[in-house]
């Protein structure tokens, strides 16, 4: 049986605008992935806990209002729990000035407004080598 890709779609920090997160989550579902979806404002330790318990492959963070600034702290926390192998993606309003900082911190890929849902899905399928087992 084909292994299904499991993704956590969440928002950390203080902002609550979740339209992007919702739409992306449902695209992942429509592409056959299993999606853990949370309400916004997750604390870093909550995201680590969910990632651990659910054994997701991908941690997708949506950020529209500077919450991306604490993504490096999230990645650090994941690493210290032995979850450094999880692939962290960030999407939303990310100023170009911050891209390098995020990529250096270990973010796999940043998606900006205007990205199509299909291309996001395709990216995830690619990095997960969709047809093969993990």
């Amino acid at each position: 049986m084909e292994r299904q890709i499991k993704v956590l779609v969440t928002k950390i920090g203080l902002d609550g605008h979740d339209r992007g997160a919702r739409v992306v989550a449902s695209s992942f579902r429509n592409a056959g992935m299993e999606v853990i979806y949370t309400s916004p404002w997750q604390k870093i330790e909550d995201v680590v806990n969910i990632t651990l318990q659910e054994d997701v492959d991908i941690v997708a963070i949506s950020s529209l209002a500077y919450d991306h600034l604490i993504v490096p702290k999230l990645i650090e926390a994941l690493q210290s729990e032995g979850l450094g192998d999880k692939k962290v993606l960030v999407g939303g309003i990310i100023p170009r000035e911050d891209e390098e900082m995020l990529l250096n911190a270990g973010v796999k890929k940043i998606f900006h407004p205007g990205e199509t849902l299909d291309s996001i899905v395709e990216y995830v399928e690619n990095i997960m080598g969709k047809t093969s087992m993990k």
Partner: protein, 320 residues
């Protein structure tokens, strides 16, 4: 994580190992059977509680409150939350966690979301294996929240020691429940959202139904009122759960339940084996096309053809 590392990890309380093992079992990865077999001997301690009922009854919130209260009472808790998979894409949004606000904030409560993946029998198999893993890990209570629709709800009784059926006022659930046979599997009935005005009435209707002939032989099934959102009635529910666990341990009822579980699991597994064997040996066998054509030409009738194929199959097996 290496295979042996995972087993060791589960036994020594490494949550990462448990989470990984669940993924292996959930996906029927190559060595999943070996994994669950190796630790099976250490299982059989946890109280497995199934929570079922229609969508909109507030099951997730109820599970959340029950879990955190049990945890406060010193019990270690794991939750399996099952959400439906999309029949079109096979994907799923697993959103029960959102409603489990207390448990989610409590790292001591292990919550795992599972997609139903469109399987009926298969789901109970993998969920059964997941409970084994959690049981060996050392959780005292494992709460299984079902999808909340369809005939598969009944299956929960083949996994759980205690089945809680949740309903809420105003859903017309009472009648539905009677039809689908879900009344019969309840060890405890909960009318959630008791803050709604018609809650008492719903509870009374359920009491009435429980007294109908089909279930009258059984022991009295408690009907409780809760309001998970307002955290009301939860202590009462927990007390009932504890009383039941003590009772079924003392009276030998637990053995009877586990006997039924084992029978079910064993026969289901056998059926599955036979089915796939038949598929390989008969449906893909040499004779199939010929016989099938004869059935289509109405030369022989399907049941006769089946008898014929089966006899031939048995004979061939004996010859080998």
């Amino acid at each position: 994580m290496e295979f042996l590392g995972i087993i060791e990890g589960i036994k020594s309380g490494n949550k990462r190992a448990l989470a990984r093992a669940i993924t292996i079992v959930e996906n029927n990865e190559e060595n999943y059977l070996e994994l669950v077999s190796k630790i099976y001997l250490s299982s059989g301690k946890a109280h497995i509680i199934g929570i079922t009922g229609s969508p909109g009854t507030g099951k997730s919130t109820l599970v959340d409150r029950v879990a955190s209260k049990l945890h406060m009472d010193g019990k270690s808790i794991a939750i399996i939350a099952i959400d439906p998979s999309s029949p079109f894409s096979n994907g799923a949004i697993l959103g029960d966690r959102i409603r489990m606000s207390n448990s989610q904030k409590n790292p001591d409560i292990f919550v795992r979301s599972i997609a139903s993946r469109g399987q009926v029998g298969g789901l109970s198999k993998s969920v059964g294996n997941i409970t084994t893993l959690m049981d060996v890990f050392g959780y005292d209570c494992i709460l299984i929240e079902t999808v909340g629709s369809g005939q598969s709800e009944i299956e929960i009784m083949n996994l759980a020691h205690t089945t809680i059926v949740v309903t809420a006022p105003g859903l017309g659930d009472e009648i539905q429940a009677q039809k689908s046979g879900i009344m019969e599997i309840a060890n405890l009935f909960v009318v959630n959202k008791a803050d709604l005005p018609s809650a008492e009435m719903t509870a009374n209707q359920i009491q009435q139904m429980l007294h109908t002939e089909s279930v009258i032989k059984r022991k009295k099934v408690p009907v409780l009122l809760t309001s998970a959102l307002e955290d009301k009635g939860i202590e009462d529910l927990i007390e009932k759960l504890e009383v039941r666990w003590d009772e079924i341990n003392k009276t030998g009822e637990r053995e009877r339940i586990e006997n039924a579980h084992a029978t079910y699991k064993l026969t289901e597994s056998l059926k599955e084996k036979f089915l796939s064997y038949i598929e390989n040996e008969i449906l893909n066998g040499a004779e199939w096309n010929d016989i099938f054509k004869q059935v289509m030409d109405r030369k022989i009738n399907p049941e006769y053809a089946a008898n014929h194929l089966f006899t031939r199959f048995l004979k061939k097996e004996a010859d080998v």
